[in-house]
């Protein structure tokens, strides 16, 4: 209990690592296949053989939850990577170049921030026929705006600092100033917003799958497991309980980690 009060971030990190290991080794640690159907044991309550019970086709819920972890984590991490790459690029260009390029990029950022993200993503996914790579791309490309703003603000203040002026006076080229002086200093806030983007990506995957425009069956993802569970929630609550708990714990851990990072980052 004391460790929890003092080091919530450490616990969060352990939880995430544990989940990542379980996700990677899912085919080895689970005795069932994620799509192996057992029609005799349909809708079985949690037991010693099926820890999390079975679903309407007799598939093992624990196995599917762990296989779902692979997809959810992949979507969270990869979409956050795209978010970070686009956000840092837009923010850096905007903050360094300034003038008309800055105002154009910032107007686009404002516009993207004004369109509600979830409906936008749902329409885009429905139009483009959802697949996992497209989902990653869409979630990543609709989430970079906050990172861009943070990085731009950092760049604007950093370019006014003496060390940047000294470098420029010493004849350093723009590319050198950006890569050696500005980016390392702007990295910390960018990492914080990328961390939070992982959690948001996982939540968005689950909502989109819940509406049928995310990960498509028979692939298991936490979101589409909940989608399938919602009609029978009153009779087979375990179908909804476990994927929901996994989403919650994972996103909570990511957010705790992000909070801790931003606390360490604050001067």
């Amino acid at each position: 209990m004391r460790a929890l009060k003092q080091h919530p971030a450490r616990i969060a990190l352990v939880m995430l690592l544990l989940l990542a290991i379980l996700a990677v080794t899912a085919p080895l640690v689970t005795p069932f296949g994620p799509e192996s159907i057992d029609l005799v044991n349909r809708r079985a309550a949690p037991s010693l053989t099926h820890w999390f019970g079975t679903d309407e086709l007799g598939r093992d819920v624990l196995t599917r939850t762990l296989f779902g972890a692979r997809i959810s984590l992949a979507i969270g991490l990869l979409s956050a990577t795209i978010t970070a790459l686009v956000g840092v690029t837009v923010g850096a260009v905007s903050g360094y170049a300034g003038k008309w390029l800055d105002s154009i990029l910032m107007r686009i950022t404002d516009a993207m921030l004004s369109v509600p993200r979830l409906p936008l993503l749902m329409i885009a996914a429905a139009i483009l026929e959802p697949s996992i790579p497209i989902l990653i791309l869409l979630v990543g490309l609709t989430g970079w705006m906050e990172t861009a703003r943070v990085v731009r603000a950092e760049f604007l203040s950093l370019t006014q600092r003496p060390f940047t002026e000294a470098a420029r006076a010493a004849g350093a080229r723009d590319s050198h100033i950006i890569s050696r002086h500005l980016l390392p200093n702007a990295a910390a806030p960018a990492i914080v917003s990328a961390t939070l983007a992982v959690g948001r990506g996982i939540l968005l995957e689950s909502v989109m799958s819940f509406f049928g425009v995310g990960v498509q069956p028979p692939n298991a993802s936490w979101g589409n497991m909940l989608y399938q569970a919602q009609t029978t929630m009153s009779t087979e609550p375990w179908l909804a309980l476990f994927p929901g708990m996994f989403i919650f714990t994972t996103v909570l851990s990511v957010n705790v980690l992000g909070e801790e990072l931003s606390m360490n980052n604050a001067p």
Partner: protein, 315 residues
């Protein structure tokens, strides 16, 4: 003040234009174009699709289509729904009251929960109530909101049977009490995340206000502690809180899509999911434009409110 409002309004217009281009481009990025849904239907002949394309003006160059769409949008001609052929504007307007009722209730609940929690958290920092609030607010932003809604439904509607599980009224019994009972669960679901965020926000602005000189001065004059907290400090801490509330109400519109789907609430959100399932592009485009415009206008409102409530901001 008037000049400020006019200046901000004139900044909003180019923003809305960029948004409209984004949304138009998105809908026309569909592989089969807006008529995609007919392509899959074997009963529709290719020449009929071609005729429809010409009739709807989809054969014209894209910039021309965009301009005529924009002109229509500004003048209130939003086209006709692909699903039932009725004007899109009417379909949205008839759903609007339900969504406003839901949003209003959710904002009320979130504010009523956040206000005491935020104030108490700032006054008694690191007390168990403060710690618990921190914990719950962290849980709030990490919760898959639709799952939370399903659990609410399962426990309070299906399990305990205290409240209805879906809809806006019972069939044939639309009394005030009945309507109130219907709105409670969806409003709680929509309010949960925002209550968590707002209470944290109020706590930090309250904590700042409590350390201001005028608060110390008020204490020094012997004013009772409750009056210092609720009259002096809170009045100043409320200013950023009101701004955040207005800004967040815009985000709530997107949350309404999920909430209305879980509780079968007949508002704009469920119109959106119905339109999405049928690829009803005219409705989808109008929905995105309306909600984005609402976000821009609420941002504007937050700016103006901030200026109106705090004379210090005016330069």
């Amino acid at each position: 003040m008037l000049r400020f409002v006019i200046r901000r309004l004139s900044q909003a217009i180019p923003l809305l234009l960029i948004i409209s281009i984004l949304i138009f481009a998105l809908i026309h990025a569909a592989p089969g174009g807006p008529l995609e849904m007919f392509l899959a239907n074997p009963n529709v002949r290719p020449e009929d699709i071609e005729r429809l394309r010409v009739a709807l003006g989809l054969d014209r160059p894209l910039p021309e289509q965009y301009l005529s769409w924009l002109r229509g949008f500004v003048t209130g001609e939003w086209g006709y729904s692909f699903t039932d052929g009725r004007p899109v504007l009417n379909r949205l307007l008839e759903r609007l009251p339900a969504t406003l009722e839901l949003l209003g209730s959710a904002i009320l609940i979130a504010a009523l929960v956040a206000l005491p929690l935020g104030v108490f958290g700032a006054v008694r920092r690191r007390s168990w109530v403060d710690r618990a609030t921190t914990l719950v607010s962290f849980a709030g932003i990490s919760l898959p909101i639709f799952w939370f809604g399903l659990v609410l439904q399962l426990v309070f509607a299906v399990g305990l049977g205290w409240l209805p599980s879906s809809g806006r009224t019972s069939f044939g019994a639309a009394t005030a009490l009945d309507r109130l009972r219907h709105v409670i669960l969806p409003a709680i679901m929509l309010a949960a995340v925002h209550a968590a965020v707002w209470s944290r926000f109020l706590r930090s602005s309250m904590a700042t206000a409590l350390h201001e000189r005028f608060v110390i001065a008020a204490r020094g004059r012997g004013i009772a502690e409750w009056a210092v907290v609720w009259r002096h400090a809170l009045r100043n801490a409320l200013l950023p809180f009101v701004t955040v509330t207005v800004l967040d109400s815009a985000i709530m519109i997107a949350g309404a899509v999920v909430t209305e789907s879980v509780f079968a609430w007949p508002g704009l959100g469920s119109l959106f999911t119905e339109a999405l399932a049928r690829r009803d592009y005219t409705v989808l485009m109008a929905f995105l434009m309306v909600t984005s415009t609402a976000v821009v206008l609420l941002n504007l409102l937050a700016d103006i409110l901030y200026r109106a409530l705090d004379p210090r901001v005016a330069i």
